[in-house]
C-alpha cells in the first residue's frame, strides 16, 4: 500500500510523540501506585518515607537547576532539605527561557533518574539497544503506521533485552548488585511522595497534569514552536533518509520503560515492608534475612551442580522463598490468614489451658 502524502506530512511526525505520551502516562500511573504504598507505610516508617521524599526533591531541584543552566540564567542559590528544595536564578529571565526552565522542573524528574540508569545499562546490558538498522531503513516508509511500528519494535527489543538482563542479573557481581540498588533508590525517588513537613498539599498525578496544562495554556505559542521544531526535525530526517526523529523518541520511550520497571521493583519492596508490618518483634526481620540467605544458598548449590539457568533460577528461588517464609510467618504469627474457626480453636485452647 502506498503512503499518502498527507499521512507523511501531517500524521507521521505525531506517531512517536503519541507513543512517548502513552508511556509517560503509564509511568504517572505507576508513580501513583508507589505514592499510595508509601502513604500506607508512612506511620510506621517515617524516616524511610522522608528518605524517599528527599530523593524525589533532590532530583526535582537538580532538574530545576539544570533548567536554569541550560537557559543561561545561572544558579545563585541551591537549597535542599528533606521536605523542601529551592533554586534561585542569577538573572531573572522571562519568556521562552522561563518556560524552558519550568519544563525542566515539571518533566525532568520523570526522566533524569531513568537517564542515570540508562547510562549504567549501556555498560551492563549486552543487547536491546538496537534502534533501526540500515537494512530496516530501506523498507521504512515515513507514514504514521510505520513510525509507530518502528517505535514499538525498538521498545519491544529494548524491553526484551532489559527483562533478560534483570532475569539473569548476578547479585554476586558488584556492578549488577550496585545497579539493582541504584534502581531501587531511583525508583523510589522518581517523584517526591509528599512535599512539606506535614502532608497538607495534595501532590498527585492530577497535580502534575494540572501544572503541565497551566504551562501549556499560559504560553501556547511555545508549544506551537515546539511542534514546529519537531516537524522540521522529522522532515530533515525524512529528506536525509535517516530515522533520527523516531530514534530520539525511542530513547524517551526507553527512559519510560526503565522508570516503570524501577517503580515496579520499588513497589515490590514497599509491599514487602507493608506486609512485614503485620508481624511483631524479631519475626519481621526473618523475610529480609531470607532474601540474601536463599540467594546465596541457591548460588552455592548451583556452584556444585551447575545448570544453564543458574542465575534466573536463583532469582526465582529468592522470590519464592521470601514469599513462602512471609506467608508462613503471617499465618503463624499474625491473625492475617486466620479463619473464624482457627480463632475459635485458639480461644478454646486458651480457655482449656486456664481451666486445666
Amino acid at each position: 500500500m502506498e503512503a499518502s502524502s498527507i499521512d507523511i506530512v501531517v500524521f507521521a511526525p505525531l506517531a512517536p510523540i503519541l507513543g512517548v505520551l502513552l508511556f509517560w502516562f503509564i509511568q504517572l500511573l505507576f508513580i501513583e501506585s508507589e505514592k499510595y504504598l508509601l502513604s500506607k507505610i508512612r506511620p510506621n516508617h517515617e524516616p524511610f518515607c522522608k528518605f524517599t521524599n528527599f530523593l524525589g526533591i533532590f532530583f526535582q531541584t537538580v532538574c530545576h537547576a539544570l533548567g536554569y543552566t541550560v537557559t543561561k540564567s545561572g544558579v545563585s542559590n541551591f537549597d535542599i532539605s528533606v521536605d523542601y528544595g529551592k533554586v534561585s536564578p542569577k538573572k531573572e529571565k522571562k519568556g521562552v527561557f522561563e518556560w524552558i526552565s519550568n519544563v525542566f522542573l515539571f518533566i525532568g524528574p520523570f526522566f533524569i533518574p531513568a537517564f542515570i540508569l540508562l547510562v549504567c545499562l549501556f555498560f551492563l546490558m549486552t543487547k536491546g539497544f538496537e534502534i533501526v538498522n540500515s537494512s530496516q531503513l530501506l523498507v521504512i516508509k515515513y507514514t504514521f503506521g510505520e513510525q509507530i511500528s518502528t517505535f514499538g519494535a525498538s521498545l519491544l527489543s529494548f524491553s526484551n533485552g532489559f527483562l533478560d538482563f534483570l532475569l539473569n542479573i548476578d547479585l554476586l557481581h558488584p556492578a549488577h548488585f550496585g545497579f539493582l540498588l541504584l534502581m531501587i533508590f531511583l525508583g523510589m525517588g522518581i517523584r517526591p511522595s509528599y512535599i512539606g513537613k506535614e502532608k497538607k498539599e495534595k501532590v498527585d498525578m492530577l497535580y502534575d497534569l494540572k501544572n503541565i496544562k497551566t504551562l501549556i495554556l499560559n504560553k501556547p505559542i511555545y508549544l506551537i514552536i515546539l511542534f514546529t521544531i519537531a516537524y522540521i526535525f522529522f522532515y530533515v530526517s525524512f529528506w536525509l533518509e535517516q530515522n533520527w526523529y523516531v530514534s530520539f523518541f525511542i530513547i524517551l520511550g526507553w527512559l519510560s520503560i526503565i522508570s516503570i520497571v524501577s517503580i515496579l521493583i520499588a513497589d515490590t519492596i514497599l509491599i514487602l515492608i507493608r506486609t512485614t508490618d503485620e508481624l511483631t518483634g524479631r519475626w519481621k526481620v526473618i523475610p529480609y534475612i531470607t532474601i540474601p540467605t536463599s540467594y546465596i544458598f541457591a548460588r552455592v548449590f548451583f556452584f556444585y551442580i551447575p545448570t544453564d539457568f543458574t542465575k534466573p533460577v536463583s532469582i526465582l528461588i529468592l522470590i519464592l522463598s521470601t514469599i513462602t517464609v512471609t506467608y508462613f510467618l503471617l499465618k503463624r504469627k499474625s491473625n492475617k490468614f486466620k479463619t473464624k474457626q482457627d480463632i475459635k480453636k485458639i480461644k478454646k485452647k486458651k480457655k482449656g489451658g486456664k481451666d486445666g
Binding site: S81, V82, L172, P174
Partner: protein
C-alpha cells in the same frame, strides 16, 4: 549523673547520648572497608580478570593497597583529616605484614575479604563504644558533657556563660530527627577556625627551566566547632532538645527588658535614698532649731 554530683537545688531535665547514626562519617570508613574487601575478593577470585591475579600473587596485594590508599587520600583531602589516610595505611601495612608472616600471600583472594570485613567489624565496634561513652546531662543550672573511651573528658557549662548557640542538622539528621547543638561560651569555647592555603607549580620545557612556587595566603574564618564530647553531638529529638537549651539559656540570662527594669529599680532606690537623706537632714535641722530655741529660753 550521680546524686553527689548534683549541686544545691539542681534538677536534671534530660540525659542524652548521640544517635547511633550521628557518627556516620566514622562508620562510613568501616563501610568502605567492607565494600572494598568484598569487591577485591570478587575481583581476585571470580571476575573475568582473575587469571591476571592468579599469575602474579603480588598484583592483587598491590591493587588492593593502591585503591585503599587512594580512597584514604581522597577522604583525607575532602575532610581535611589526614588521620584517615594513616588509618588506611595502617590497615594495609597490617594486612601485608600478616600475609608475609603467616605465608598467606598465595591465598590473598581469601585473606583480603576476610581481613577487611574483620577490620571493619572492629571499626564498627570501636565507633559504637566511642558513641556510648558520650553522655550529655541537661539540668536546670548547667549542661554537662562527658565522653571518651580511655581518657574521660568532661565539660560543664553554666547557662549564663553561654554567649551563642550553633545548631545544625544534616540530611541524615533531618531524616532520623537528630542534630548537633554547639553552645559557645563567652570565652570562645566551641569555636574553631577554617584556614585556606593556595599552592601552585609550573614547569617549562623538558627539565631545562623549572619553577615551583608555593603561594601561601592565610585566611582564617571563625566557625562553631567542637569535639563530640564538648558539644551536644547528634542528639535526639533535635528540635525538642534545642528548644529546651534555648529556654534554659533564656531563663538564666538577663534580657534587655530585665536590664531596663533593674536600672529603673536602681534609680528608684537611689531616689529613695536621696529622699531619706533629705528627710534626715530636715529632721536633724529641726532638732537643732528646737535645741537652739530651748537654749535661748
Amino acid at each position: 549523673m550521680d546524686e553527689d554530683e548534683l549541686l544545691n537545688g539542681e534538677k536534671v531535665e534530660k540525659i542524652l547520648s548521640p544517635h547511633p547514626l550521628s557518627f556516620m562519617r566514622f562508620q562510613s570508613l568501616s563501610m568502605f572497608l567492607i565494600i572494598w574487601g568484598i569487591v577485591a575478593g570478587w575481583l581476585i577470585n571470580f571476575s573475568e580478570w582473575n587469571t591476571i591475579f592468579s599469575n602474579n600473587e603480588w598484583l592483587s596485594v598491590l591493587v588492593w593497597g593502591l585503591v585503599l590508599l587512594l580512597a584514604g587520600i581522597i577522604a583525607s583531602i575532602l575532610t581535611i583529616r589526614w588521620s584517615i589516610f594513616f588509618l588506611y595505611l595502617g590497615v594495609f601495612a597490617g594486612g601485608v605484614a600478616l600475609m608475609l608472616s603467616q605465608g598467606w600471600l598465595g591465598a590473598s583472594g581469601i585473606f583480603i575479604p576476610f581481613y577487611m570485613v574483620s577490620i571493619s567489624i572492629i571499626g564498627f565496634l570501636f565507633v559504637e563504644a566511642y558513641r556510648r561513652s558520650h553522655r550529655y546531662i541537661i539540668s536546670n543550672q548547667r549542661i554537662s558533657f562527658k565522653g571518651g573511651i580511655v581518657t574521660k573528658r568532661e565539660r560543664t557549662l553554666r547557662y549564663d556563660k553561654i554567649a551563642d548557640i550553633d545548631a545544625r542538622q544534616g540530611i541524615m539528621g533531618q531524616i532520623f530527627g537528630f542534630g548537633t547543638i554547639i553552645p559557645i561560651s563567652q570565652s570562645g569555647f566551641g569555636l574553631g577556625s577554617d584556614k585556606s592555603l593556595a599552592a601552585g607549580g609550573i614547569q617549562l620545557g623538558e627539565k631545562k627551566v623549572g619553577f615551583f612556587g608555593l603561594f601561601g595566603g592565610g585566611k582564617e574564618v571563625q566557625t562553631p566547632r567542637a569535639r563530640s564530647y564538648y558539644e551536644l553531638h547528634g542528639v535526639f529529638p533535635y528540635k525538642e532538645v534545642k528548644k529546651l537549651v534555648e529556654e534554659m539559656v533564656q531563663g538564666n540570662v538577663i534580657t534587655p527588658y530585665q536590664k531596663e527594669q533593674v536600672a529603673f529599680q536602681k534609680e528608684q532606690v537611689d531616689i529613695q535614698k536621696q529622699m531619706r537623706d533629705l528627710l534626715k537632714m530636715q529632721s536633724d535641722s529641726k532638732v537643732d532649731q528646737k535645741g537652739e530655741e530651748g537654749s535661748e529660753e
